[in-house]
Symmetry: C2
Subunit: 345 residues, 2 copies
Amino acid sequence: SRSINLAVIPGDGIGQEVVAQGLKVLNAVLPQDVKLETKEFDFGAKRYHATGETLTDADVEALKQYDAILLGAIGDPSVPSGVLERGFLLKLRFLFDHHVNLRPSKLLPGVATPLAGQPEIDFIVVREGTEGPYTGNGGSIRTGTPHEVATEVSVNTAFGVERVVRDAFARAQARPRKKLTLVHKNNVLAYAGHLWTNVFNEVAKDFPDVTTDYIHVDAATIYLVTDPGRFDVIVTDNLFGDIITDLAAAVSGGIGVAASGNINPSREFPSMFEPVHGSAPDIAGQGKADPSATVLSVALLLRHLGYEDEAARIETAVSADLSERGDSVRTTEQIGDALAVRVAG
Amino acid sequence: SRSINLAVIPGDGIGQEVVAQGLKVLNAVLPQDVKLETKEFDFGAKRYHATGETLTDADVEALKQYDAILLGAIGDPSVPSGVLERGFLLKLRFLFDHHVNLRPSKLLPGVATPLAGQPEIDFIVVREGTEGPYTGNGGSIRTGTPHEVATEVSVNTAFGVERVVRDAFARAQARPRKKLTLVHKNNVLAYAGHLWTNVFNEVAKDFPDVTTDYIHVDAATIYLVTDPGRFDVIVTDNLFGDIITDLAAAVSGGIGVAASGNINPSREFPSMFEPVHGSAPDIAGQGKADPSATVLSVALLLRHLGYEDEAARIETAVSADLSERGDSVRTTEQIGDALAVRVAG
Ligand SMILES: CC(C)[C@H](C(=O)O)[C@@H](O)C(=O)O
Ligand SMILES: CC(C)[C@H](C(=O)O)[C@@H](O)C(=O)O
């Protein structure tokens, strides 16, 4: 019989609330014969304050035992900026080699967007997750003096770029439009840009049926608001991907519905699925958070583990719920309940 | 008697057309007693193809003699990506120490925006222009092999950050709302982020009447489409500034009206003013380009040289022209003529 062994990290702020709904929908969608085992981990601000730990070696070993990780949100204003982000979130992405950071954007009918004219939006961003300016390389000298020099080094390897570009080509090939856009800034960041562009053009030869395109990251932000329909699959580096996926989420229904997967396609280590939004401490504990982004992240998790039908059922349910939502105000739990009913039905 | 000694670089594509209108309006707005002398330079793709040169030492010496530089656009698909950008545009920004890259965004009444509900938008971005990931530091090893490693180094100095932050605070102080937002990614780019944040907080003490705010660059792109009214003055690094000002232009009327100044506030070297848009080779020579961005860049140029009244007259003229434009289709020249009449009136 089949089983899913899931590590659950509710985290901080609204993380707790949205993860509860994610699990509820997961339970509702899974067939009887699939045994779901979950184990909750207490990473986040509370543990950091209590112990000074963000993620220990023992934690990492423990997490390795699971098929996948579901994360709510990590971060709190009481913790200095960057401590939990780098000490937990990025650390895990790097240690578990989550090199495919997958972020779909789809504007569903009836869903509010800040853009006029309700444009068609349906693309996915494949953001590199283990290189670029996120490696923590860099430093500073004469720190805190008028003569300080601080550097950040973006590290890009042919190995790292090729595997994520190849993954993105395969995803583009599997979609009806079969179009892949490389987003970079190769006219300025010439060394990294040259590597990305060369690898992209080389890998393209193995996917002759995929249409390719290149856009500078600055221009990409323009297209995301004036002509988002031009995008099908985007592949880009870690930092550019961070920036454009927040914008992509904003134009396609908001971060309340933006899901993401930190994926290790080889499955050597567990992949981690999380909403794009943060811990939103201002609305935590009030039942105001929209669990849809977490529920959609559960769909990405299921697809990654091979449960394609169940993933699709969740996406259909969220889609229907959003379209029929109108101006109704529901609690986090009510939305979760409604989705659980839909996926079971 | 007063005089302006202006270096004019029409450049490539639509650069020629829009600069002609910029000069027309400049001539029309200047009082009789101001002597305007212009000298045209032939930088750009044509010269590069003919001579292999982008900007020689002699060119740089020649340009130093002018009070300011008006640039149309540089770039053509016939030239490999980056050659003219780095060999001319960025080279000049660095050599002439254009550390204040000024980019105002104002959505004028009646002007189309991709955003629903015609929000109020009126902010300026002060983008650092001589540091960050734009320094050309970096390199690659095993280039072109499966073992290539390519790096880009973002270089940030207390000296460079402080002067641009101070400039931004002064600009914020001079505006009614007196609000300055630092945009960075200090939770990930910790060394540079620490420097920027520390310097920002230190300089803030000298401007107690300015309200301050900090936003991560990814979140900033969300606010630019969901709540652009929250911004008054933004200060940010070179790359983040590049990205968010294209988005800012897109939401506040498009790059057809986005002006910019590459400013050396000390006036040790001439400052350079240019539209944010590129050379748009697809519409070059057809009289389709909107010269408004160039004309507004002329206003920034005049303000930099102390001609505040004339700058304001140009801005009022463009504002009126845009508001009354409706669906009329006019040529580049017709728009320039209309603006020249307005500023003279
Ligand atoms: C919290 C932060 C480190 C993270 C990132 O920059 O990747 C977040 O913005 C994201 O996009 O997942
Ligand atoms: C052409 C390019 C080098 C330039 C930049 O990146 O600064 C442009 O995008 C700009 O914003 O002026």
